[in-house]
Amino acid sequence: MSIAQATFDTAGPEAGARSEDYLWTLNFGPQHPATHTTLRLVLKLDGERVVDAMPEMGYLHSGFEKIGEHLTFNQYVTVTDRMNYISPMANNVAWHHAVETLLGIELTPRCTYIRTIIAELARLSDHLLSNGAVGLDTGAFTFFLYGFYQREVIYDIFETLCGARFTNSYTRVGGVSQDFTPLVIEKIRAFIRTFPKTLDDMERLLTRNRIFVDRTKGVGVLTKEEAISASATGPVARASGVTRDLRKDEPYLAYGDLDFQICCASAGDCYARYLVRMQEMRESLKIVKQALENLPAGDVNVSIDQRVSRPTKQQVYSTIEGTISHFELSMANRGFEVPHEESYAAIEAPNGELGFYVVGDGNETAYRARCRPPSVLHFALFPQLIRGHTLSDVVAVLGSLNIIAAELDR
């Protein structure tokens, strides 16, 4: 990680001059308000123009993958909350989606719909923040506040749902911790009613705002070939014309039943990424609305015969199956049957493909819990996106890539 030894590739647009004496080095981060998270950039500047950038990470590394080898499948969900902390629900869904793929558990229809709804609410809250941050960094503070107000509404929904606003830890193996109550459904309905108006306001504020368009259009251009070669996924890849979205390509949960569009752009610049995120919010809203109207009745967790999700108190105290199931799940040596297998399962998280490669060895803890973090691959793109642009564009590019350092470092 030492910057001093690293050689800068100066084959950028400013190359040619042999002597680099006139270049100066700017240390951007790890603590800087505009990085939003704890990451570091070492920029090589020619006046205001960025000749090269060296992204650096590891400041928040906390060994999440190592911890994953020591916590059980249900405990580890609390750690996934802390990966991408602006959309923790999506991480919860991704983790248990991977675990259930390994264990071969089929979810109930109600559970798939509930998880779809919360994953889409997480996408809304992520896109509100990431687009808001691009606006904030390019000088549009009002836009950011509009976005943050709506994030509060989504937090309120999550709080009503599971008691936690921020680190939800909502899913469980084979189900979720709390079923939807009428109050939650009412709050989500109210949100669906009021949110489109805010979204219209936000688009009116920024989409054709001359200053914002000038700051973001043509900045940080990523071509389709580069996006595929660099393993970019999610809105970053879709803004460059890669039509890959796991919700359509590998329909998981309830996405196969719902009607929605994949939002793509071809320009690949910061403005295109902003537009893709804006449009995805409208599509997410459509998904939430349809899923809520078609929410199936019935049990939310898999049946107690499968012995994977904890029975309700009612079942524990009034049925023998419930008592046995509760007892076995609480004992260290009885839990679920984990095959000696390994599997990878991914969901389309707000930031891109978020997958977990889980290896089972018969224990209730994973033998290996690899997280495929979209942020790492996007952050590696940063130098090629910023070369030749000015220092003030650094924050626009960084914001539009939506780098979350906690997910970056894990």
């Binding site: 990470m57 070669s229 393993s231 890669v242 390509d249 590998e250 493909e353």
Partner: protein, 169 residues
């Protein structure tokens, strides 16, 4: 005439024809193929030409304490196709004392940081990598923390950090 992508079986048959008999298996709907370490680059390049253009992830599993494991490290290359949406997992097994495999950075730019992370966490060397430095741990760190013989709480690296006083800073 609509384009019909070659099935995974066809791809595997072609791969076997080219690289000799390979161990393949299917689990949970995911196809995996084990490739010898010295041929991994050629096999991945061959697969990239056959449409697996997206390198989803490069990671590794340390099989030190795993039941019936014959090798120490198992590298995992998750490939996908952006046009046909097929997925394929390529496994490469390497062993101590010198776990080495050829880098795939010439094929996919995205492999750069993924391989750096595997080097950092597992100590597997990628020959031909342009910039094989640690990604997350500090440079002066000597161990590879995701190996199974590395303890969860570390070996005291953190507790023995030098204390910086105001005079020395």
């Amino acid at each position: 005439m609509p384009f019909t992508p070659p099935s995974i079986d066809d791809v595997l048959a072609g791969l076997t024809e080219r690289f000799g008999s390979l161990d393949t298996s299917v689990s949970r709907g995911q196809t995996r193929v084990v490739v010898p370490a010295d041929q991994s680059f050629d096999a991945l390049a061959w697969l990239k030409e056959r449409g697996f253009d997206l390198l989803v992830d490069v990671t590794c599993v340390d099989y030190l304490e795993y039941r019936d494991a014959t090798h120490r490290y198992g590298l995992v290359y998750l490939l996908a196709s952006t046009t046909t949406n097929q997925r394929l997992t390529v496994r490469v097994f390497v062993d101590d004392p010198d776990p080495t495999v050829r880098s795939v950075v010439p094929l996919w730019a995205g492999a750069n940081w993924l391989e750096r992370e595997v080097w950092d966490m597992f100590g597997i060397r990628f020959t031909g990598h342009p910039d094989l430095r640690r990604l997350m741990m500090p440079d002066e760190f000597t161990a590879h923390p995701l190996r199974k013989d590395y303890p969860l709480q570390g070996r005291g690296e953190r507790h023995n950090f030098p204390v910086i006083t105001r005079e020395h800073s």
